[in-house]
């Protein structure tokens, strides 16, 4: 038995290691199990989190949906952050599903760990100065994997500017303008005042939504909850 003991220990450790990888790489079953119960019962809710107002960010903010919509979502995002890229289609889907009931705001929060985050935020803001923030926002997020590996991203974003019909010369000037810099700075100040230190950080009617609740299935339930609380559903 003693001769076998080391081999038994080794096999047990191997089993535990492989077992935990297999168990933890199957997350699909879990969020669904949490999200699928009846839509009336208790739900994962961000309402535990306190409402945060924070200092104002860039004015006017980039928004979609009517100002008086019952549900307001504010995202602090970084264009180079992969989970933000994944969240982009989710938010787009929510916008389509909830339409006029949802007001969406995007705030710039370029992280220092990302080389191209500030140029990307500047490109989106510069497009915003010609009234096409959301078009640029979508292009930058949808092509994240293409430009994030580039050494110089400016020509890529100028290409996007041309594609969405911007005045490219003006865009090139605006990207480096004080106004764009100031807007990013103000959004960052707002982020800090609301204790945002990672992206995407999403606020639903002023309350922070836990990162785990950002998949479409859970977010939809949370928005429904807010609509119900507001008496519009």
């Amino acid at each position: 038995m003693k001769r076998l003991l080391p081999f038994i220990i080794i096999l047990v450790v191997l089993g535990v290691a492989i077992g935990s990888v297999v168990y933890m790489t199957k997350p699909q079953a879990q969020p669904n199990a949490n999200a699928s119960p009846s839509p009336v019962g208790p739900k994962p809710s961000p309402t535990q989190a306190p409402v945060k107002t924070g200092v104002p960010g860039a004015d006017p903010p980039h928004t979609m949906g009517p100002e008086n919509a019952p549900v307001k979502i504010e995202e602090f995002g970084d264009f180079e952050c992969p989970p933000c890229g994944l969240f982009h289609p989710i938010l787009k889907q929510m916008h389509q599903e909830f339409g006029d009931k949802l007001h969406i705001t995007f705030r710039e929060f370029p992280l220092p760990t990302h080389n191209h985050a500030i140029p990307a935020a500047s490109a989106a803001e510069a497009a915003g100065m010609q009234g096409k923030f959301w078009e640029m926002h979508a292009l930058i997020f949808e092509n994240q994997n293409t430009w994030k590996t580039e050494f110089d991203v400016r020509p890529v974003f100028e290409g996007y500017a041309k594609r969405i019909g911007l005045d490219v010369e003006r865009f090139k000037r605006d990207v480096n303008s004080d106004r764009v810099e100031q807007r990013i700075f103000l959004d960052g100040k707002r982020a800090r005042s609301m204790d945002v230190n990672s992206t995407p950080t999403v606020f639903l009617n002023g309350r922070e939504v836990p990162f785990q609740s950002l998949p479409a299935d859970t977010l939809r339930v949370l928005i429904d909850n807010e609509l119900r609380a507001a008496g519009t559903k």
């Binding site: 003693k2 080391p6 080794i10 450790v13 191997l14 290691a17 997350p27 992280l111 760990t113 990672s198």
Partner: protein, 155 residues
């Protein structure tokens, strides 16, 4: 007299071996921590982008960089295999398998070199540090020290 002189070196060899046992136990325990760390990183890598990007941590950056996988195999998984090997060899060494203790030396040496290379990549190429990768590097360095001490004691 002859008997005496025969016994002495043998006895001291046994003493030496005895005195290295706590070292190999420590190596086995440390490699378990390393294994846990590497398994966690492997899971993060495989489930992909399941952690938000953060002001303080560069894990997302490091784990999604082109250096995080080597011809399709996540580096963290290679690390997990390495820690598992260290654990196996150290456990066998505790139970008196001398060869296992000897094999630990080249294995840990390679791990130290790889850790240094990965540290260089994080510091100068990716320019982001991932705490879990740094923990792994620290464990490898500690393992190296243990193996060196055991080497000195065992010989």
């Amino acid at each position: 007299m002859i008997k005496e002189s025969h016994r002495e070196p043998r006895q001291s060899a046994i003493d030496n071996r005895q005195s290295t046992i706590p070292l190999y136990v420590a190596a086995a325990l440390l490699s378990l921590v390393g294994l846990g760390d590497a398994v966690y990183l492997t899971v993060q890598h495989l489930t992909g982008q399941s952690v938000p990007c953060s002001v303080t941590s560069g894990c997302e950056e490091v784990l999604t960089s082109s250096y995080a996988a080597f011809s399709g195999i996540p580096l963290a998984a290679v690390g997990a295999a390495a820690y598992f090997s260290v654990f196996s060899l150290a456990t066998l060494a505790v139970f008196g398998y001398r060869t296992a203790g000897l094999l630990l030396r080249p294995l840990v040496a390679v791990m130290v070199l790889v850790s240094l290379w990965l540290f260089y990549l994080q510091a100068f190429v990716i320019r982001a540090f991932c705490q879990f990768c740094l923990l792994s590097a620290a464990i490898t360095i500690a393992l190296m020290i243990i193996v060196l001490v055991a080497w000195k004691k065992g010989s």
